[in-house]
């Protein structure tokens, strides 16, 4: 019993000691699950090639990342947050309220969102307008009036599309990928209707509700955040389509095929030059106040913004990142370098 007692006492004593722990010697990163594979790659290389500890990276989603990031300045708060969208105004305000006044935005590169199905199914060539008609909650009918989406089969939209039930597996509403899919895919098709586009000028909220609402009658199925699961389900059901990030298509090109959108196939080059319509930028945000406080921050940023990592032939492209054009990379690289000079 006495051994156990000492152990308990020791455990409590050490907890008290931990409460008064000295400054953190490891970078902490939170944020988007889309940027996670890239950030972890950089972190690992950074840990292996320098004498600093490997940063700890949590995949919390873009929104969850900003929430933690903006909670304050100090060692108990993360240093960097990854995001698959730009910071929102409300989040900036939250940051400022908690004393996180100076943050630096760094664009990392681009990510493509693909609509794909099993190789056993028919390869399709679809337009954004057709995607809107297939997946929006309300669509215009022949008279130009909004009605609940009547399309049950792809061929109901256009006879050139396959004669199968519309069934699309995609990420849940909490996902940044779904937001981007709605914004780039659905809205891209939605604004091709002049009368809807006209609404944008008068009632922005209504416009967004029309263009961003995904139907809830079972044609679009929430498949959770796990993209590997979506690929397995597509393989089992050749009639279904899935929505996920380009890196998963890249890694599973033997099982699934990406549909052409507006005549453009989801290929590396097409996403990089922006001709593929469903591509979005990825970011990370740095807390300026932590530079110089947490060891290795500048070195980590230097590793990330190095052409060896995010360049045209960098190791991040192997992980599916679509790099930015050279001058844009140079701009962010300079911005990061300036952070070091300032402190």
């Amino acid at each position: 019993m006495s051994i156990k007692k000492t152990l308990v006492v020791a455990a409590f004593a050490s907890v008290v000691a931990a409460g008064a722990a000295e400054a953190r010697d490891q970078i902490r990163i939170v944020g988007s699950s889309t940027v996670y594979p890239f950030a972890t790659s950089v972190a690992e290389t950074f840990g292996k090639t320098t004498n600093f500890k490997t940063p700890v990276i949590e995949s919390t989603g873009s929104g969850g990342g900003f929430k933690l990031f903006c909670a304050g300045v100090g060692e108990e708060h993360p240093d960097i947050t990854n995001a698959s969208r730009a910071i929102k105004k409300s989040e900036e305000e939250r940051c400022a309220k908690n004393g996180v006044e100076k943050i630096t935005e760094v664009k990392v590169g681009y990510d493509g969102i693909v609509l794909a199905n099993s190789k056993k199914g028919k390869h399709i060539d679809i337009t954004r307008k057709q995607i809107f008609l297939a997946l929006a909650k309300d669509v215009p009918n022949a008279e130009g009036k909004l009605v609940p989406n009547p399309n049950q089969k792809w061929s109901d939209i256009d006879p050139s599309l396959p004669d199968v039930k519309i069934e699309v597996l995609g990420p849940p509403p909490t996902s940044g990928t779904r937001d981007a899919f709605a914004e780039l895919g659905l809205e891209g098709g939605c604004k091709k209707y002049d009368f809807i586009k006209a609404i944008k000028k008068t009632d922005k909220k209504k416009y967004k509700a029309i263009c961003h609402s995904i139907r809830e009658d079972g044609a679009y199925i929430d498949a959770g955040e796990n993209d590997n699961l979506i690929i397995q389900k597509l393989n089992a059901n050749p009639d279904a389509f899935g929505v996920f990030g380009f890196s998963f298509l890249d890694q599973n090109s033997d099982v699934v095929q990406g549909s052409k959108i507006d005549g453009k196939a989801p290929m590396f080059e097409a996403i990089a030059d922006g001709s593929y319509p469903l591509s979005r930028p990825l970011f990370f945000y740095v807390k300026n106040a932590h530079i110089g406080q947490v060891p290795g921050m500048l070195e980590y940023l230097a590793e990330f913004t190095n052409d060896k990592a995010w360049g045209d032939e960098g190791y991040l492209t192997d992980k599916g990142l679509i790099p930015m054009p050279k001058d844009e990379r140079a701009k962010y690289h300079a911005a990061v370098k300036a952070l070091g000079a300032g402190s």
Partner: protein, 428 residues
């Protein structure tokens, strides 16, 4: 006579019916068992058939020229220079020499992709161990990249058309050249048990998660076992039976049914925000999981204490033992096997949890293997979850391999408990 015959006939029919009911029940029982067995068998075969290759790793033998002008241009063998040298360049040079026909920038890049980036670290460690290698030529076995590994393990089918397979014809031709020369080997993947997490499937290891799980479980056990058993003894033997203890009892039973994520939120609010425990550390994880296991241990311990015949306690008190002596000398040792079973059930549950750890930051990419409960760490089920979510195909087998390690950990824990129980068990 006829009456008797008649009643025997009726009785016989009834007996037959009763026997039939019994046979039916037995058949159903066997059916249920068979179904359960089938489910377990399917689970195990799918995990093992997917995962056993995770314990293997392909290696390629390449000829390395430990060029002094690359490793140590100054020639003074300073450790820092040797550490920072560009060893990847040596690997690239070797590949270029083996395949002089490869010229285009793109093709060259694909060629370098055959060998894992780990090769450079292998060479670095070799040189640091033995600086006299510099200037020599030597053939070295280095790790193949995950794609080559998948090809050699027949996960990627060579016969399929090029555009439907993730590896190109060119790469296959290069690998086949190595194969013909006998320079490809599949070995037991020791790295899997030695290394921490990595983004490269071939370099990823389970060590970090395994140590993290062990540290977390240790903290959980140290906190919850003594506290749980003490609480059970007090409530069962000493506490007055009044409304207050009844309320405590109801609350403990309720706590056992609270979803685990709630404990995570509690841990975030109390241990991290109030007590300032480090985020992502096993110490905080252990505290959270201890809270979760406590009700299970208390309930099981109380049931074990209750099952001891009261005559034993009464006899001890009868010969003059105090109540405390009666409990600690006679009841507790007899109840210990039951208490241990309860503890193991609680610990096994805690071992498989990921949800409460999400809130306190233990679901994260952590490459360094933790050495104390205060270092950032992750646990086995979290590692399984993180790998299952990765795009690289080679992580599929790693996921299954990690599940096998998790099951192994669980079986070891259970076996230990069964052994302890057997040793402590007493009959009366």
């Amino acid at each position: 006579m006829t009456e008797l015959k008649e009643s025997m006939k009726i009785a016989g029919a009834r007996l037959k019916k009763r026997h039939a009911a019994e046979t039916r029940f037995k058949a159903l029982g066997i059916g249920a068992l068979a179904f359960a067995f089938l489910c377990v068998a399917t689970l195990f075969t799918s995990i093992i058939s997917n995962g056993y290759t995770g314990f293997l790793q392909s290696y390629v033998e390449i000829d390395i020229n430990f060029d002094e002008s690359v490793i140590d241009p100054d020639g003074n063998r300073a450790i820092e220079t040797l550490k920072d040298a560009d060893y990847a360049k040596l690997v690239k040079e070797s590949l270029r020499e083996t395949f002089p026909e490869v010229t285009g920038r793109r093709d060259k890049r694909t060629l370098y992709g055959l060998i894992s980036s780990n090769a450079a670290y292998t060479l670095r460690d070799m040189v640091l161990n033995d600086p006299s290698l510099i200037g020599q030529k030597k053939s070295v076995w280095v790790m193949a990249s995950d794609e080559v590994d998948m090809l050699l393990k027949d996960v990627f089918d060579r016969k399929e058309a090029e555009d439907t397979r993730p590896i190109s014809d060119k790469e296959i031709a290069w690998v086949e050249k190595f194969e013909k020369a006998g320079k490809v080997e599949t070995r037991f993947n020791t790295n899997f048990f030695v290394a921490g997490d990595s983004r490269e499937p071939e370099q990823a290891g389970i060590r970090g998660a395994l140590v993290g799980s062990a540290l977390t479980m240790l903290v959980t056990l140290v906190l919850s076992f003594p506290a749980g058993v003490m609480a059970a003894i007090y409530l069962e033997e000493f506490a007055p039976k009044n409304k207050f203890t009844y309320l405590v009892e109801v609350n403990i039973n309720n706590l056992a049914a609270v979803p685990s994520i709630v404990f995570g939120l509690l841990g975030l609010a109390i241990f991290l925000n109030m007590f300032g425990m480090p985020r992502s550390a096993p110490i905080a994880g252990g505290f959270v999981l201890a809270l979760m296991t406590l009700p299970t241990i208390i309930i099981a311990s109380r049931a074990a204490l209750k099952s001891i015949p009261p005559s034993i306690k009464e006899a001890a008190i009868g010969v003059g033992a105090s109540k405390m002596q009666a409990v600690f000398h006679h009841q507790l040792p007899l109840a210990l096997p039951g208490i241990l079973t309860g503890t193991i059930i609680g610990m096994a549950q805690a071992l498989g949890e990921t949800a409460p750890l999400l809130m306190i930051g233990m679901v994260a990419f952590i490459a360094d293997v933790p050495s104390t409960p205060f270092n950032p760490a992750t646990v086995l089920p979290v590692q399984v979850y993180l790998w299952a979510d990765s795009p690289e195909r080679a992580f599929v087998e790693k996921t299954s391999a990690a599940i096998m390690v998790l099951l192994g950990f669980l079986i070891t824990m259970n076996a230990l408990a069964v052994m302890l129980r057997k040793k402590l068990e007493r009959r009366w």
